[in-house]
């Protein structure tokens, strides 16, 4: 791919003795769309603020084009930021907000005018030059924020949950918009979000973080299909996670049965976590099933049903368009490609059990996230 632009070396950040970042090592390529993904308090915003120059790391280095920029103040970095909730200047109109950076840089008036107009058309706000910021909708403010940052032609654009305050529909539109702008302008985007779907659909590379550490780095497909541990498996999409034993390469045992799988490279009889994605499971007639269980709850989700099935006391989430009534006994088959085996980690046993599943769970999590930082 293209060349490396930013590198974080052993980044550690402590606030009042509390370790928020615990040895982050990461590099960003030129023209890349990279997303830092994780729950509240995982350190993703802190990482972004260190790159932007708003925080000094307790230890570790930030390298830009191979040079350490720890001591370079924010205003001298070739980096611009789209802030959470935009931080537009309320005393300036749309035009002056976007022109702000160029005026500070004392560019000629005609050039400022040209570049602001160009940005206005890129973000679709032509004709809004003289509007007051507080007369704009959330989506429009968002676009002004993006224009204000991009007009300076930074090498890197940092985006801190820029879409969190928008409603679902607008968020989807803006996701496409951002991706389009990023590709059109060829700028490195470093994007912070807690929304896994957003991360998967926009990014070239996803960095999953938790507890101030990087849990996994990879392409969106790899992160989803080959999660490294129970945390990643659970955070990216839904997962049923079971205790298993790796008998030998390609053979894993759980629920007292041996299954074929595609994973290898574990020690003989090594205890492992087994991930089964809810959408990979198909119902079959009971007599043909590898496992049989009882349906305990059915929730209609629009695209599919969320069905909770009790297998010998362990409840699985199954997502299917195939309706099953509550109380039915069902059988399931698991094909080798449906089973993903992970090494045991500190997260083993914490995730992937749907015994306390409730339909409101997702929304509760989102509400909690909104209050972060």
């Amino acid at each position: 791919m293209s060349k490396e632009l930013i590198r974080l070396q052993d980044l550690v950040m402590e606030f009042d003795g509390e370790r928020v970042l615990d040895g982050i090592n990461l590099y960003f390529n030129d023209h890349e769309f990279l997303t830092l993904l994780g729950p509240s308090g995982c350190g993703k915003t802190t990482t972004l603020r260190i790159i932007g120059g708003f925080l000094n790391p307790t230890s570790g280095k930030v390298l830009f084009d191979g040079k350490c920029i720890n001591e370079v103040p924010a205003y001298q970095r070739q980096i611009n930021t789209v802030f959470q909730r935009y931080a537009l200047f309320p005393h300036l109109n749309v035009y002056d907000n976007i022109a702000f950076g160029l005026k500070v840089a004392k560019l000629p008036k005609t050039e400022i005018q040209e570049r602001v107009q160009e940005m206005l058309s890129i973000v679709g706000l032509k004709g809004y030059e003289h509007r007051r910021i507080d007369s704009l909708s959330g989506g429009q403010q968002q676009r002004v924020a993006i224009a204000r940052a991009l007009v300076n032609r930074p090498k890197v654009l940092l985006l801190d949950e820029p879409l969190a305050a928008l409603d679902l529909r607008l968020r989807k539109d803006m996701q496409n918009e951002l991706k389009r702008i990023q590709q059109a302008m060829g700028i490195t985007f470093i994007y912070v979000t807690h929304d896994q779907e957003e991360a998967l659909s926009m990014s070239d590379t996803v960095v999953v973080m938790d507890k101030g550490r990087i849990q996994q780095i990879g392409k969106p497909e790899d992160i989803y299909n080959e999660p490294k541990n129970a945390f990643v498996a659970d955070f990216i999409g839904e997962s049923n996670i079971l205790d298993g034993i790796m008998l030998a390469d390609y053979k894993v045992k759980f629920f007292g049965r041996t299954f074929q799988c595609l994973d290898a490279g574990f020690a003989p009889n090594e205890p492992v976590d087994v991930v089964i994605r809810p959408e990979d499971i198909d119902f079959v007639p009971v007599e043909q099933g590898h496992l049989t269980g009882t349906v305990t709850s059915v929730t209609f989700k629009g695209l599919n049903y969320d069905i909770i099935v009790d297998f010998k006391g362990f409840k699985w989430l199954i997502q299917t368009t195939d309706y099953q009534a509550e109380g039915t006994t069902v059988g399931i088959r698991l094909n080798p490609e449906d089973i993903h085996v992970m090494k045991k980690s500190e997260y083993s046993g914490m995730f992937g059990d749907y015994s306390s599943y409730s339909a409101e769970y997702d929304e509760l999590v989102e509400d909690a996230d909104d209050e972060e930082e």
């Binding site: 103040p73 924010a74 005393h91």
Partner: protein
């Protein structure tokens, strides 16, 4: 129904305003426009105002100078308080208010004791073998008294506005290339304009009409319009002229605050308290 309830609840205040503000205003207006002897309608009282225009000018001048000094002194203080930790902010806020808990008259008298010919400063100076200074009875002493008494009225509205400026706006300005000075001039200062205007108003209005400060700390050449008005009522026994002067002063204050409000409203959309 709802409207009636609100009216009922605000009734006591409205009544209070009518009895103690509107009626006295009417009385002022009445005296200002009637003849002292006959009680007939006349504009003579207002004609005499020309005599007092220089005094009025001095008063406005003193008030403007005091307000500006308060701004220069108060802004850094307000800025400093607004950028402390929440608890420190509360303590400093209380300390700023503290002088206001003491009587205005006492505070001014205390300055008399400090500045007068045999006051604390001069006693110290002569004790050190230095020549005594003429401090009391000077314009400087009057301005000092005004600044000292009204400074909290500048700091508090400024603090209230500055503390509300979003931290992220400052970061955004840094992000867009502003150094410390530019952050202040391009973001912090414009955003604190509403506080500046309301601080200036809150110092200017009481300063322009004061009489006590100039009487205690000033001399003959620092006679202010407030003193003149007081004299009309207390000694000259010409309440018609006093009323006319009051009326003009009131109009002047209204015009001044109106101009400031308009200025703020157009430029920043700020609200002046």
């Amino acid at each position: 129904m709802k409207k009636n309830k609100a009216l009922l609840l605000s009734g006591p205040y409205i009544l209070f305003m009518v009895i103690f503000t509107l009626i006295p205003l009417g009385v002022v207006g009445y005296f200002a426009l009637t003849d002292p002897d006959t009680g007939a309608f006349t504009l003579n009282n207002l004609k005499n105002l020309a005599l007092f225009l220089p005094t009025l000018g001095t008063s406005v001048g003193y008030a403007i100078v005091s307000a500006l000094i308060c701004l220069v002194l108060g802004y850094p203080v307000a800025y400093y308080i607004a950028h402390r930790k929440p608890l420190t902010q509360k303590i400093l806020y209380m300390l700023t208010m503290l002088p206001m808990c003491m009587s205005f008259l006492l505070r001014t008298l205390a300055w008399v004791g400090i500045l007068e010919t045999n006051g604390i400063i001069n006693t110290l100076l002569t004790g050190l073998g230095l020549p005594a200074l003429e401090l009391i009875g000077t314009p400087g002493a009057v301005i000092l008294g005004m600044v000292y008494n009204y400074l909290p009225y500048m700091i508090l509205p400024l603090y209230a506005i500055i503390v509300k400026i979003d931290r992220r706006l400052i970061e955004a300005a840094e992000d867009l290339g502003c150094n410390g000075v530019q952050v202040f001039s391009k973001v912090v200062l414009p955003l604190s304009t509403p506080g500046i205007l309301s601080g200036l108003t809150m110092v200017f209005v009481p300063a322009v009409s004061t009489f006590y400060i100039s009487q205690k700390l000033g001399g003959t050449e620092t006679m202010l319009i407030g003193d003149v008005i007081e004299r009309q009522f207390k000694y000259a026994n010409n309440r018609n002229l006093g009323a006319a002067l009051s009326l003009v002063l009131m109009l002047l204050v209204l015009v001044c605050t109106g101009i400031m409000n308009r200025f703020g409203g157009d430029e920043e959309g700020g609200v002046v308290v």
